[in-house]
Symmetry: C2
Subunit: 355 residues, 2 copies
Amino acid sequence: MPELRKDVITGHWVIIASERSKRPQNFRIEPAQHPRGPFCPFCEGNESKTPPEVLARRRNGSEPEAPGWSLRVVPNKFPALHRDGEVGLTGDGLYESMSGVGAHEVIIETPEHQSSLAELSDAAVQDVLWAYRERIAALKQDPRIRYVLIFKNHGEAAGASLAHTHSQLIALPIVPIRVQRELDCSQDHFQRLNRCVFCEVIEKELQQKSRVIHETERFVTLSPYAARFPFESWILPKSHQAAFELCPTDLHAELAEVLKTLLQGMDRALEKPAYNFLLHTAPGSDDGSPSYHWHFEVIPRLGRVAGFEWGSGFYINPTAPETAAECLREAATLPHPPQGGPGIGTPAPPENPKK
Amino acid sequence: MPELRKDVITGHWVIIASERSKRPQNFRIEPAQHPRGPFCPFCEGNESKTPPEVLARRRNGSEPEAPGWSLRVVPNKFPALHRDGEVGLTGDGLYESMSGVGAHEVIIETPEHQSSLAELSDAAVQDVLWAYRERIAALKQDPRIRYVLIFKNHGEAAGASLAHTHSQLIALPIVPIRVQRELDCSQDHFQRLNRCVFCEVIEKELQQKSRVIHETERFVTLSPYAARFPFESWILPKSHQAAFELCPTDLHAELAEVLKTLLQGMDRALEKPAYNFLLHTAPGSDDGSPSYHWHFEVIPRLGRVAGFEWGSGFYINPTAPETAAECLREAATLPHPPQGGPGIGTPAPPENPKK
């Protein structure tokens, strides 16, 4: 019998296929492979092809917009939001609009034409986390910005249009609804029970173990109880912390290792899938909220999301999170696929629900 | 400058690309084409390959589970929810679950191996609407059911796993969150202003015209002001009506024509795209709610939804709804593509936002 599970953080219900739970070989996995274009604006030497950098990790003495960097952050050349202007609210009685003020930036994670964050050095992944922190902290100083959303589209099937590994940042004059829902529900939980709901989840999961994928001294990777997507995985700090940018940089080495471990595990278990990840963090500057808890949400692209899920907000997950966690734990013992090779698409029956 | 628009029905904000708004030729359209399998369980003569029918339109004298039908409704062979059992809520203090009780049915829209609802006869589309109505009304009598969701995945890229044209129904022990959000916000609007927000939207759109795609005596097709997806289109009854099954059957002929006109227009303007549609209707039986208003939401598959949109609930729409409505109005004057031919995929640059 399938089961409906309630996400304790958002209050949303999800159908979990607890019988005949799909394992990796039952999916048509969207591989991350990406045709290499004739020219890559993100490679070292091509700095003039991007807008001027807003942040970079550079060797001593190297000049901006020139080689000599290990990481660059640049505005998106085709931004979804513009940097200049005021957040003017316009209304005509029924409809309201706002000028599209904000920021849209690209974090170029390496100067080489590498396509996978999972294959970068530990130091390079630490630099990526450092860049997230620096840009979030800087943009939160702008009074027009209400939220800074960090995300990564890995592979063409996940929405990336360039193969060279990069993350993105969108700074918004509003808080995205899914984050707002988490904020509202976790605040409500705190008011009722005087505890952070995320801290409670972590405590319970570490006791129960069936959905834990990986645990280190300060972090835990788990498959959430009411996961919406097969193999959806979250990384959370074990100690309470609302805002990512308040995570001390001396924990970045450990966090980089945890993130790489998860991504490498997915590469092994799911044959280098395309994936998305998002950083959910508290919106305020210096946000010491007792009720919210920052975390990464990683979602591999397995099959297609049916349109009724967008249109109804109701998700059917064909892989129980306990099965997903078991597969990803097992993957830690498998050999890593050859560097840079494409994922091998496994022919598989089309996924349910459908007909 | 891009613009943020607030959906007056849900309160959600969307980024609308009001400059450089993408037209059909700028998209990589996911065509609806579907490889034909060696065997189709939905074709006439193969009735024994589906579970027994729960509803059918049959020629006088034809027997159930045998040829002689023009439409059949059967349980999904691989249901996401099961028909039998009680809706038991289980909790362990933090997590809550429910047994997966409900229904998952398939509406087989024609006995012939046709792949498109848009190409069926007017009478056949009327029969499809009749089947929606009958099944919603019947399932709403079951006290375990809180919501009946009707949807259609057209084309493999939209989640269909069989080419033979069909719709689906999922009856749930909960109300899906997007519908619940519409119900809550429209009720709130009604309490403040004593008017149905959908009725206000229809009135305004019919005055303003820029987002109206098609209008008949009783129905209007429009591109909503804060559309989340390019070419997203809604069909609504002009007069207030909360529940679809209360729409008198003598309006089905007009509604069938309106639905076909929209789908044929999309086929022309977007080269036979894969699409999804959903019917949003009020949950109660005999639902005469003064604040809610049933409607169809039709979403063609143009490019891919970036993962950050799922993970944040924040959508970027690269096509202004005014542009979409204009294209779909113009499409009414274009010749229809040849019957049954596949959509012609137009090579196009990958879509924003990305990099």
